[in-house]
Structures are given as C-alpha cells and as structure tokens.
C-alpha cells in the first residue's frame, strides 16, 4: 500500500465522518440559518468527495462535476440568503 492509497482511504473516512456530522446539524439545527449553512457546507464536502473519488477511480471527468457543483452551490447559498432577507423584512 503506497502513501497515496493510504491518503485516499484516510480522506474518504474523514469526509464520511464530516458528512455524518453535517447531517446531524441539518436535522438538529435550531434555526433556518443553521440548516442553510449545513447545505452550503454539504456542497463543499461533496466537491472534496468527488475529487478524492476521481483520484481513486482515475476518471478525470468527475473533476468537471466538482467544478460545476462548486460554482452552483454558491448560487444556491446566495438564493437562500436572498429569500431569508425578504422573509425577515415582512
């Protein structure tokens, strides 16, 4: 087992644990803002998972998916913030 294999396995474990913690925050989060931040972080962790999986499988096309997810998750967070701002104004 080379060092890069060990690094990939270790980062997969860490990413999975952080996904579980994110879901705990997503379910338990007291306010809507906590859940929105959990969704935003979910996209970032998803990008990390896709990058690691692309190294594991050797398919470079997955990296494009990671780029699109990174670009669009920002739009999602901004749209949620827009909605929150309007909701608080009423």
């Amino acid at each position: 087992m080379s060092f890069i294999d060990f690094a990939i396995c270790f980062s997969l474990v860490v990413i999975s644990v952080s996904l579980l913690l994110l879901f705990v925050r997503f379910i338990a989060g007291p306010t809507l803002e906590d859940r929105i931040i959990a969704i935003d972080l979910l996209a970032v962790v998803g990008v990390a998972f896709i990058a690691v999986y692309s190294m594991l499988s050797g398919v470079t096309v997955f990296l494009d998916v990671a780029i699109i997810l990174g670009l669009l998750s920002f739009l999602g967070t901004v749209a949620f913030a827009f909605y929150l701002e309007r909701r608080n104004k009423r």
Partner: protein, 139 residues
C-alpha cells in the same frame, strides 16, 4: 432591493467563469459528458446570479436580446441542423461530420450545431422563467 458589496464583487469574478465553463460544456458535449442542455443551464444560473446581485432591469440590459427571441432562434438552429442530413444522405437529422479534428473539441459536425440550438433554447426558457419570477416579486 438590498445591494451587497460582497455579493457584487463575487459575482463580477464568478459570472465570466460560469459563462466560459458553460461554453466549454457545450463544445465538447458531443463526445464527452456535457452538452447543450447542461451548458444552457449553467449559463442561465450565471445570469440568475447577476439578477440577484443587481436586479432584473440591469440583467435585461446586459443580455440585450429578449429571452423569447433566444428561444425562437435556438429552435430554428436546431431544426435547420437536421436538414443537412436530408441534403447529404436523404435522411432527416442524420449526422454529418467534417473529417478534420480540432485539439479539444474533436470532430465538428451537425450535432454540434444542434447542441448550440439546444443551448440557446434552454438559456432562453430558463431566463424567461427567472425574469418572470423576479418581476412578479418586485410588484
């Protein structure tokens, strides 16, 4: 409309990136994952980001053409690309490929032109939906 400086600065760097990536997805869509539909959606989300940051009126001024004319021209391009098959093979929508290969996008043929039509169509429809929602919001 609340204007945030952080959001405006971020969108100034993000929108060109998203538009370039959508065009990249369109160009290599005929032999690798991607294509006109996904490219159009990514381009429409770039314009949605601009609309959130700056409002609907500046977005419509930046776009210059109406979304409806984008829809019509996209449909026209997609249908016209099908007639190349009739001219060369006698079958509607049969693909016609040029032999020369280009570095990134590979061979060029009528499927690329069809994809461009789909790109314009999806961009136009998404922008029409986004603009109508925002205009309804502002009233």
């Amino acid at each position: 409309m609340i204007v945030s400086v952080i959001l405006k600065t971020a969108t100034r760097y993000l929108i060109p990136l998203m538009l370039v990536f959508s065009f990249f997805l369109l160009l290599r869509g005929h032999n690798e994952p991607g294509g006109g539909f996904v490219g159009g959606l990514v381009a429409a989300s770039a314009y949605a980001l601009f609309a959130i940051a700056n409002g609907v009126k500046p977005t419509q001024q930046m776009l210059r053409v109406k979304p409806l004319s984008l829809i019509v021209s996209g449909l026209l391009i997609a249908v016209l690309s099908g007639f190349a098959g009739i001219v060369y093979y006698g079958v509607f929508m049969k693909a016609f490929w040029f032999e020369t290969k280009f570095p990134v996008i590979g061979k060029i043929g009528t499927p690329l032109i069809f994809d461009m039509g789909v790109y314009l169509l999806v961009l136009g429809i998404s922008l029409k939906i986004i603009f109508s929602l925002f205009e309804e919001d502002e009233q």
